[in-house]
């Protein structure tokens, strides 16, 4: 029987503080970047405190309003949630640093000045939504948090108000709404059949019945749409290409992972008795297709941001292979640990890659890959960051990406699932191809260089720091995997035996 520590205030504060910060920035409307940075530091500190608590005391639970489930909403933080929360806080902090340099008031283009006042409140809402989603243990609460996440992401994509961005935003919002409605219908079926909305109660009630299958299918479809799983990925490349660089970084690194995380939680704890191996093959096969399709399209991308966006489609495919690999061997940590590791390593690397793309765009006015000759001479820090990030995306040791793919490959070979193993290897080769495409253009020494505009140093250094973090993840694998298992999240008995 696991005793759960109760009432850690950080669990609610990581949501309340960003909301209050957004309101404060809206009302004050001056020095928005400073307020935003202060708030970001505060939220990151709160997340750090919560992670420390989980490491010291074990999993945490908070019954909001003093009402225990099923009457009220419960927040639950174990090793998995703590890890996701930490990743979110780290990436979001550096995105804030980058954005404070990207949206600079003294830029001659006045649109950035006005845009900064809108960016910071919307960014705070996005962070609040991510935190709410990660900590929630109630299916309807997740629906509302998913809507907050989707709407804030779309608002940030449309920030530049140009036609390609707004058009991409409309498509994104349509897909997001369809996903949310599908998820809500699933929740309705769950409530109709089980009479409760909390994870713990649902995990003990649900059995393989027609309404549980219907709910599982509906909710999974909705979440897959929001994570841009093949073939419902068509909205992602235009949206991430046309968003401002800090927004693209946050979207690729965090937002698509949040719905994946919810799906992971649902499949492995709530629907634990309902999922079958056949059902688990569906996201697995679609994920494998995503890896190949995304990588191939990245090979033919014309612009750097487009290439990085297609790379996201491919890497998300790896994540969805955790479902068949995890269901085959329910008590083993290899597959789920690999997937979570990939979430963090990819988040760091992808955010760094988008930041570098943004740097290139700002410095040269374009990001066409063919015309990137000589970039390394003028922006060595950024290109080094891209190189390190690329190593993690390909999956070479000693990066975090390597550990993640190694774990997934081991799980696939344990199965044995030769198909998935082949796709993992092939994906690594294709990633090598498209990353080296960028290097071969940019690492040339040329004499005549185009127009170059100096960019703030913090934009380059935040990219470098994040890419180095993805390397650091590769070196601390054992500690990380140990932390993730705090609270034994995979074994559903743990959640049921824990007290109210």
């Amino acid at each position: 029987m696991i005793e759960l520590a109760v009432g850690a205030p950080e669990m609610a504060l990581v949501v309340a503080v960003p909301l209050l910060a957004a309101c404060a920035i809206l009302v004050v409307r001056r020095r928005t970047a400073v307020l935003g940075m202060v708030a970001s530091l505060a939220i990151a500190a709160l997340a750090g405190c919560l992670i420390w608590r989980i490491a010291q005391e074990g999993p945490q639970r908070m019954n909001l309003g003093g009402w225990s489930a099923p009457l009220g909403i419960t927040l639950y933080a174990d090793g998995l949630s703590g890890w996701m929360l930490g990743t979110t806080a780290l990436i979001a902090l550096f995105v804030s640093v980058y954005a404070s340099g990207y949206f600079h008031r003294n830029e001659p283009a006045t649109q950035f000045g006005g845009t900064a006042n809108f960016f910071w409140p919307l960014w705070m809402f996005l962070w609040a939504a991510l935190n709410a989603l990660i900590l929630s243990a109630d299916v309807f609460n997740i629906y509302v948090a998913l809507e907050l996440l989707g709407l804030s992401s779309v608002a940030l994509v449309a920030l530049s108000q140009e036609a390609p961005a707004v058009s991409a935003a409309v498509r994104y919002l349509l897909v997001s709404l369809m996903g949310s409605l599908s998820y809500l219908m699933g929740t309705a079926f769950l409530y109709a059949g089980a009479g409760t909305l909390g994870f713990k109660e649902l995990a003990s009630i649900l059995h393989p019945e027609s309404f549980s299958f219907a709910a599982l299918a509906l909710m999974s479809t909705g979440l897959c749409m929001k994570s841009a799983l093949f073939p419902l990925h068509f909205w992602l490349p235009p949206a991430h290409e046309n968003a401002p660089a800090p927004v693209s970084a946050a979207l690729s690194a965090l937002v698509v992972k949040a719905s994946f995380f919810v799906m992971l939680r649902l499949w492995f704890s709530v629907f634990d008795r309902v999922v079958t191996e056949e059902a688990a093959m569906v996201p697995g096969i679609l994920g494998a297709a995503a890896v190949i399709a995304g990588s191939v399209q990245a090979l033919s991308a014309q612009r750097l941001k487009q290439l990085v966006a297609y790379s996201t489609v491919a890497q998300v495919g790896y994540l969805f292979m955790v479902f068949p690999l995890g269901v085959l061997n329910p008590s083993s940590w290899t597959a789920v640990g690999g997937a979570l590791y990939l979430v963090s390593a990819h988040a760091c690397a992808k955010a760094a890659a988008f930041m570098v793309a943004g740097n290139v765009l700002r410095a040269y006015g374009h990001d066409r890959i063919e015309d990137l000759r000589g970039v390394v001479q003028q922006m060595p820090v950024s290109m080094f960051a891209f190189a390190v990030a690329g190593v993690s995306l390909i999956g070479l040791p000693p990066s975090g990406g390597f550990i993640a793919k190694w774990l997934l490959l081991t799980a696939a070979l344990e199965g044995p699932e030769w198909g998935f193993a082949a796709v993992i290897v092939a994906g690594g080769l294709l990633a090598t191809a498209y990353i080296f495409r960028v290097f071969s253009r940019s690492f040339r020494n040329v004499t005549d260089l185009g127009d170059f505009k100096k960019i703030p140093a913090r934009m380059e250094w935040s990219a470098l720091t994040l890419s180095l973090c993805s390397m650091l993840l590769g070196l601390t694998a054992t500690h990380v995997l140990e932390f993730m298992q705090a609270g034994t999240p995979l074994i559903r008995v743990a959640m049921m035996e824990a007290g109210p």
Binding site: L19, L26, P70, A128, V144, A158, L159, A192, G195, F211
Partner: protein, 236 residues
């Protein structure tokens, strides 16, 4: 005379095949029928309803500070959902502003007609009183912040049309009213830490009062948000 009259467009044709995928319509139709079939079977196969949660709500109702079970669920038992929902509404206003910030103010001031203005002078205060009543009655009967807020917002829109009142430019005051609901909710939530180590845990004797305070803030915010969204939509 009311503001800009857009030229009438011819109604669009109903049958436009989707570009790029000729079998989309039949495929989508078949999938939709399958979806209906599967869900209907699941609906018919639902087990008999357990009444555990409604009974629990009914038993805990006296401790919640209100007499209406739906209000109790929205503003006490599951108040966290409502907090995020109010944040969604505020976010929508900011996002809409952000997406149209460079559109410029095309909203021309309408010339007030005396008859409409006089009509509004009668109707406006009446609507405000009814909105206040809806807010208050939410404790005992269907009503509450959302209904009152929608009514109040529509009063503002009606006033804009009838009296030619042009909405004020963006200001800190406007932002304060828009975010009042969210701020109050979070403040009350964090404030309850003084009583119990929990978020949004109303001390039982204070529950009714706190709910009313939060609902009032939310009413003003919802009204302002709906009004601002309407003016933004009109401008584009």
């Amino acid at each position: 005379m009311l503001t800009e009259i857009k030229p009438k467009r011819a109604p669009s044709l109903p049958e436009i095949p989707a570009a790029g995928f000729p079998f989309l319509r039949p495929a989508a139709a078949v999938s939709a029928l399958l979806l209906f079939g599967v869900l209907w079977e699941a609906f018919r196969g639902l087990p008999t309803p357990r009444a555990s949660l409604p009974n629990l709500v009914r038993e805990t109702l006296p401790l919640s500070g209100v007499a209406n079970p739906v209000t109790a669920v929205i503003l006490n038992f599951r108040s966290y959902d409502t907090l995020i929902e109010i944040a969604v509404l505020l976010l929508t206003v900011i996002g809409a502003r952000a997406a149209t910030a460079s559109a410029g103010a095309r909203l021309s001031r309408s010339v007030p007609e005396p008859l409409l203005a006089a009509f509004f002078r009668l109707l406006g205060p009446l609507i405000i009183v009814i909105a206040g009543y809806l807010l208050w009655i939410g404790k005992h009967a269907p009503g509450g912040a959302f209904q009152a807020g929608s009514l109040l917002g529509s009063a503002a829109i009606l006033g804009m049309f009838c009296t030619g009142w042009a909405p004020p430019a963006e200001s800190g005051c406007q932002a304060a009213v828009l975010s009042l609901g969210t701020i109050l909710f979070c403040a009350v939530g964090m404030g309850t830490y003084l009583a119990e180590p929990n978020f949004l845990h109303y001390p039982i004797p204070w529950a009714g009062t706190l709910i009313l305070v939060i609902e009032t803030g939310c009413t003003l915010s919802i009204a302002a948000a709906l009004f601002v969204l309407f003016t933004i939509c009109r401008r584009t």
